[in-house]
C-alpha cells in the first residue's frame, strides 16, 4: 500500500513533464537532446550555487527570516538565470525553432529541479507506513515549478534570442523575468517570515505560476506578431 502511495506521488511529481513532452510538438521534433543538455546545465548551476551558499551564508539557530541572509540568497538565485542564459544561448542546438527551444530547455530545467529536490524525500518518506499530505503538496509544487521554468525560459529567449522586440514591451519583459527569477526567495519569505503553512504556499505558487505563464504567453505572442 505504501509503495502505491509512492507511485501516486511520483506520477504527480514527474508525470506532467512526460505528458508535456509527449503532448506538444516537442516529441515530433525529437528535442530530447536539448532537454537533457538543459538538465545537465541545471546540475552545474546547482553545484555552483551550493558552493556560493556555503561560503557566503552562516547557519542560523532559529528558523526565522533574516532579511540580509535572504537578500544574499536572492542574489545567488540569479546564478540560476545565468545558467538558463547559458543553456539558451551558448549550447549548440540542432535546427529547432525558437518556439520549441525555450520549451525544451524549460522542460529539462524543471525536470532536473524536480529530480534533485523532490525524488530523494519521496523515496525515503512516501514508502513508509506513516501518511502525510506533504508529498502530494510537493507534487503540486513540482507542477507549479514546471510552469514557472517554462515561462522563465520563454522570457529568457525573448530577452536574449529575439533581436527585434517592440520597444514598449522591453521593460515589461524584464520586470516579469525578474519576478519569475526571484520566485524562490518570495516563497521562502512567505514560509518563514510570514509563517504561512505548506498548503497555502503551494496554492500561492500554483496561482502565480499560472498567471506568470499567461503573461509571458501574451508577451511572446505579442513579440511574434511583427515577424
Amino acid at each position: 500500500m505504501t509503495m502505491f502511495h509512492f507511485f501516486n506521488c511520483a506520477i504527480l511529481t514527474f508525470g506532467p513533464h512526460a505528458v508535456y513532452y509527449s503532448a506538444t510538438p516537442l516529441s515530433e521534433y525529437d528535442t530530447l537532446g536539448t532537454s537533457v543538455k538543459a538538465a545537465l546545465v541545471y546540475l552545474g548551476t546547482a553545484l555552483v550555487k551550493l558552493v556560493c551558499l556555503a561560503t557566503v551564508l552562516k547557519v542560523s539557530e532559529n528558523d526565522g527570516f533574516d532579511p540580509y541572509q535572504e537578500l544574499l540568497k536572492a542574489v545567488i538565485g540569479f546564478i540560476d538565470v545565468a545558467g538558463l542564459y547559458f543553456a539558451l544561448t551558448q549550447l549548440i542546438h540542432r535546427n529547432i525553432s525558437q518556439n520549441h527551444k525555450f520549451q525544451a530547455v524549460g522542460l529539462g530545467w524543471a525536470f532536473a529541479d524536480s529530480v534533485l529536490h523532490r525524488l530523494a524525500p519521496l523515496w525515503v518518506g512516501a514508502r513508509g507506513l506513516e501518511f502525510t499530505w506533504d508529498f502530494i503538496l510537493q507534487g503540486l509544487e513540482a507542477n507549479a515549478n514546471l510552469v514557472l521554468s517554462i515561462s522563465l525560459a520563454a522570457l529568457g529567449s525573448l530577452m536574449w534570442l529575439r533581436k527585434n522586440k517592440p520597444k514598449t514591451l522591453i521593460p515589461i519583459i524584464y520586470t516579469c523575468a525578474g519576478i519569475v527569477a526571484t520566485m524562490p526567495s518570495i516563497t521562502s519569505y512567505l514560509r518563514r517570515g510570514l509563517g504561512w503553512d505548506f498548503p497555502k504556499v503551494v496554492v500561492f505558487e500554483l496561482f502565480t505560476s499560472l498567471s506568470m505563464a499567461f503573461i509571458s504567453w501574451q508577451l511572446f505572442s505579442a513579440c511574434q506578431r511583427p515577424s
Binding site: M1, F4, H5, F7, N8, I11, L12, F14, G15, P16, A18, V19, Y20, Y21, S22, A23, T24, P25, S27, E28, D30, L32, V115, L119, A120, W123, V124, G125, R127, G128, L129, E130, F131, I136
Partner: protein, 562 residues
Amino acid sequence: MANSKKPGGLREMLESMYSVIALLFILVACVELCDAAAAFDVYRLIQYDRSGSPFGSRFAALNHHAASLHFPPGVDLSRTVLIIPLRELNITFVREYINQKKPLGGFLVLLPEVLSFKTGGNNQVHEKEKMKNLLAELERLLIHSNIPYPVYFAFENDEIDTVLADIKKNDLMGQPATATTGGYKFVIPTAEPKKVASPTMTNIQGWLSGLKTDGDANQLPTIAIVASYDTFGAAPALSVGSDSNGSGIVALLEISRLFSLLYSNPKTRGRYNLLFGLTSGGPYNYNGTQKWLRSFDQRLRESIDYAICLNSIGSWDNELWIHVSKPPENAYIKQIFEGLSNVAEELDLKVGLKHKKINISNPRVAWEHEQFSRLRVTAATLSELSVTPELLESTGGLFDTRQYVNETAIVRGVKLVAESLARHIYGHQGKNIQIFADESSLAVNPAYIRSWLDVLSQTPRVAPFLSKDDPFVMALKKELAGHVDQVNVQHETLEGIFTFYDSTSARLNIYQVASVTFDLLLLLVLGSYLIVLFSFLVITTRGLDDLISLFRRPPSRKLKTA
C-alpha cells in the same frame, strides 16, 4: 512517416526516463523506512511455563490497527490492538475476554505516569488503595491465564494521550481502523520469544566473625539474617518490588552496616558469628534459599542459633508479624518472640506471632523460614503481611513502586531487629539499654536507607533475566563486602517447575496510515488530471484535429494499405 516516428519518439523518451528512474531506485535501494509518528517503550507481560502448562502472553510481535474501548459492538477484533488506560479498565471485561478466549490482536494497558520509575519520580499517587487493588487484581488475572496474543504495558504521556483521544473519536464515529479505512497502526518489531536457556540464581552471603577467645574449643554460635532480593511480576521489566522485597534488602544492608561498626572494635565484638544472606529464587518457593542451605557444612548448620528472615517491612503502620513454623511453646521461639516484643514495646509498636505448620510433602514454601525449618534450624520471618501469600503473590508486582513504601517504617523495623539481636548477643535481655540510640554514632541512618531504596526502586530484579555477572548483583555484593569480613557468591540454576521466555521490553511504533481506498481515489484523480493535461496541451499546441487523429490512427493506416 511522421506517424511512425511519433510513437517511436515517445517510447524512446519514456524508456530513457524509466531507465534513469530505475538506476536511481537501485542506488537508493538500501534506504530505511522513515520514522513513525511516535515511538514508545512498552513492557511485555511475562511468559512462563509452570510444570509444562503455558501461562502469560505467548506472543511478542505486533502489527495491527488500534482500537479503544469504544469500538462498535460486533466488530471483529482479531486483527486489532485494544488500547485501554488503567483508569477506564474494567476487570470483568478483561476477565470475560480472557476466559471466553475471545479473539484479539493485542492488548495494551496504559499505566499512569506516576508509577513509572523512570519519569514518575516521587509524586504522590491519587487514590492509592483503589489503584493498588485494581493493579493487584489485574496482575493476578494475567499471570495465571494463558493469553494467545501479545499483552503490553506502557506509561501514559502527552503523545500517547493525543493518539488515544484520536482513536476514540474515530471509534465513536463508527469507523474502526482497518486496512480500508485508515487510522492508527501499532507496530512492535521483535523476534519470537525464546526460552531463557539456564536461568541462574545468585545467592550472596556475608560472614561477620565473632570474638573467639582462647579457651573456646567449640565453634561460636551463629545468627543468620536473610532476605531474598529477586522479584516477580506481571511485567518483568517493571518489577522493582520496592516493598517486596526491597525493604528487606535495605534493612539487611543497614543491619550489617551497624554490626560491622560494632564488630570492627575487638572490645565490642560479640561472641556470636553473624551470617547475612541475600538469596534469590524467592518467588519460586524459595528455591535459592534451599540450595544455599543445602550447600552448608553440617557443622555450620548446627551452629546456627536461629535465623531471622526479612520479608516486606516497608509499608506498615504499627504492627509487624513474626511467622514461625515451630509451635509457639518451643523455648527458642519463645526466646525470639520475647526479645522482639520487649524492644517493640519500647519502640511503641506491636509484634504478633503467627504459627503455620509446614507440610513436608507439599512443595509449596510460602515463607523463607520454612526452608530453614525443613533442615531443623530455628527460624522466623518478620513481615508486615499477616496472611500467607499465595504462589507468585506479593513478590513485587505492578503496584509495588517507590510511592508505596514508607522509609520511616523501614527505619523502625531495622531498629527493632538490630536492638533485639544486640541484646541477645551481648546478653542484655530484659535490660533497658539502647545500643542503637538516635543521635549516637550507632544510629540507624535514614539517608542510607533512602538512597538504597531509591536504587532498588529503579532496578527490576526478576531472577531469570539477571545474568551471572549482572551489575546490580555485583553492586549488592560489593556493598555487603564493605560491611562484613568475607563475602561468597553462589550461582545456582533455577530448575524445577518454572521455565521462562525472554523479550520483556520493546519499542512501540505508532503510524498514522491512510486507507487503500484513499490511494485508489488519488490514482483516479491523478490519472484524469494527466489525461486532461495531455488533451489540453495537444489542443493548444497542435489543434483539436490532432487530438482526434490520435484516436483514429489505426483505421487511417488500414485505409492507406487498402
